[in-house]
């Protein structure tokens, strides 16, 4: 079907459940993986994922396509994650602060690049390196690779500026390259 995400969302707001099903089928995987890699456990991820889509459903009647649908969707997801991190007492600072000049927080020993490099499987190493990224950088990476958001859209979804979003992406890629020995 050739309808855009925005049209599908409006269709759902107008009562077309099929439109929502199409929208959900298209975005459930990326959103789920974005959430899954942003929290510790799968159970938490499933709960948050469900909550995010409930918010989307609840907000459908008020949806107006002012921006790309995915930006709106991941903005909701981002806010839900931030709430989650805050209640867990995690450092939201690392999300909001611009990290371009700040030193990176140390990765946990088990996730240090040189130990990861000993891992046998490349994908395992990538997953570990991704998990070891600071929240903001990991989020930028996931929004880019799962949500297919540009730096500007990442900035809009996470409430930061475009330069910071680009910087986070750059740091993330650099660390993943280091972890994979992929220079």
């Amino acid at each position: 079907m050739g309808e855009s995400d925005e049209q599908l969302m409006l269709g759902y707001a107008g009562g077309d459940v099929k439109a929502f099903e199409a929208l959900y089928a298209k975005h459930k995987g990326p959103v789920f993986r974005y959430v899954l890699r942003s929290v510790k456990g799968r159970g938490e991820a499933e709960e948050l994922f469900q909550d995010i889509w409930e918010r989307v459903i609840a907000a459908a009647a008020r949806y107006t396509p002012q921006a790309k649908f995915t930006t709106w969707l991941y903005t909701i997801a981002h806010h839900r994650l931030v709430d989650h991190w805050r209640t867990k007492g995690l450092a939201v600072v690392s999300i909001d602060d611009e990290e371009t000049a700040a030193p990176e927080p140390a990765a946990p020993p088990s996730a240090e690049p040189h130990r990861i490099a000993e891992a046998r499987d490349m994908l395992d190493r990538l997953a570990a390196a991704l998990a070891a990224l600071p929240l903001a950088q990991r989020e930028a990476f996931l929004l880019h690779h799962e949500g297919d958001l540009s730096a500007a859209q990442i900035a809009a979804a996470t409430g930061t500026n475009e330069e910071a979003a680009k910087s986070r992406l750059r740091y993330a890629m650099s660390k993943l390259r280091d972890a994979l020995g992929d220079d």
Partner: protein, 278 residues
Amino acid sequence: MTDSDDRIARRYRELAREEPPTALDAAILAKARRQIGDGPALPAPERMRVRPRFQNWAGPVSIAAVLVLGIGVSLRMQLEQPGIESSAPAKELSPAPAPASPPAVVPAAAAPAATATDSIQPAAPPKAVRQNRQDAPRIPKPFADQPLRERPREEFAAPAAVPAAPPAPAFAPPSRPALDAQQAPAASPPSIRAQEAPAAAQGAPLRAKREAMPDSSGPHELRKLQSQEADPDRELERIARLREAGSHAEADAALAEFRRHRPDHRIPDGMWERVKPR
């Protein structure tokens, strides 16, 4: 993007294969269907496809019609009362006591807001919904339970009721208590009608709204009306004050409500410290 970036992206795509469980899919899709099916602002999907535009307005228009009807009936009931009282001595009719007149005027205009504010205080049902969510298994059971079935109705009813709200003040000013109070400023023992009138004027819009919303979720609808109209910062401030006052249950419910209505609103860190769940 460099080649190595492309390689990382490709490897990530190989890695990224996780999908949500099918039970979760089913639960979310069921919720989406139920929202459409139950929401008064959104009609049944099969009829929707035939005439979507008309159906879009059907909900709000019908709610507005019920509101107008309810207010009209209550006004008529008030107008009928003077007939009974007119058999009483004239001096008992005319002197509406001075203290009674402001309440007679104010509630007529501010009845929805006042009652909505009052109804915020208990805030129990939203908490019950959240509580239910926490107690019950995450998926898909909560969706089969009643509290979540109620959520769509309150979430969709609120936006639909917003455009319907303005008629209430427009009808309220000509209500008899207000007119009587203006015409009879002299002090005298308050008549029964003068005492009952503010309550009636206040109660009429509320009753009309409750009639428009079929179950016992009336106060929630009014609360949503208020919260939707309110400035988000003011709403957050109100939640913060609830926290400071120790009303954590109400604050939790209000915060959850706020998040439902404004999922994409960013709560500043300073404010979050004041409103976050304790």
